[in-house]
């Protein structure tokens, strides 16, 4: 079974600084997809960034980028120039299917941004 682990229950960062959230996963699949979702207090999950396992190039979306290390099964999220609005719970997620299926989520990391 696939598992996703986020070892940092809480993280904090100063506004305008950079923070990295960690995620590791376990799978025997060679093709799969990884995601970072953000959950603000409104509870609505918002997709931040996604990565295809077959792509060596790390995904980037504006201030958000990932460090995908396939051999190490590591998928960290870097937030640059942190903003107060980035404060939220962040979840790492995995799926192995393109046809739509369950996402397997990590336990989440609560990010606090200090002014």
């Amino acid at each position: 079974a696939q598992t996703v682990t986020q070892s940092q229950p809480e993280m904090s960062v100063q506004e305008a600084e950079t923070v990295t959230l960690s995620c590791t996963y376990d799978t025997s699949e060679s093709d799969y997809y990884l995601f970072w979702y953000k959950q603000p207090p409104s509870r609505q999950m918002i997709l931040v960034i996604r990565q295809e396992a077959y792509k060596q190039q790390n995904a980037t979306e504006n201030r958000f980028s990932v460090n995908f290390q396939k051999a190490a099964k590591s998928f960290s999220l870097k937030i640059s120039d942190s903003q107060l609005g980035d404060a939220a719970m962040y979840f790492c997620a995995y799926t192995k299917e393109t046809s739509g299926s369950r996402l397997t989520f990590g336990e989440g990391t609560q990010l606090t941004v200090n002014p």
């Binding site: 409104s42 509870r43 609505q44 979840f91 393109t98 989520f105 990590g106």
Partner: protein, 116 residues
């Protein structure tokens, strides 16, 4: 609607009562998912509907839980004889399944269920 809509937003029920949670997915989305998020936990998969295919019910925790999707659109998650351990936020998501890349799953704001 513009997004995934869930109702009610909050529900308090007495132990032993049945509850129904509703999800209106984004129009045209073929896939619909239910997840459960217990306090301070990640999301736990419950059930997945895709078009006219048989749903993937492998995440339902007990036979007290059931879900249906009528007309390929609205879905109802039913919990019978609720227990205190059922207290959680129940999140619904939908996506348009096509192509060779998993489509983005759009989530609703969830229903917070409290069993007293």
């Amino acid at each position: 609607g513009a997004g995934v809509s869930q109702s009610p937003s909050n529900k308090v029920t007495e132990k032993g009562k049945d509850v129904e949670l509703r999800c209106d997915p984004i129009s045209g989305h073929t896939a619909l998912y239910w997840y459960r998020q217990s306090l301070g936990q990640g999301l736990e998969f419950l059930i997945y509907f895709q078009g006219n295919s048989a749903p993937d019910k492998s995440g339902l925790p007990s036979d007290r839980f059931s879900a249906e999707r009528t007309g390929g659109s609205v879905s109802t998650l039913t919990i019978q004889r609720t227990q205190q351990e059922d207290s959680a936020v129940y999140l619904c998501a939908s996506s348009l399944v096509q192509g060779a890349f998993p489509a983005e799953a759009f989530f609703g704001q969830g229903t917070r269920l409290t069993v007293v």
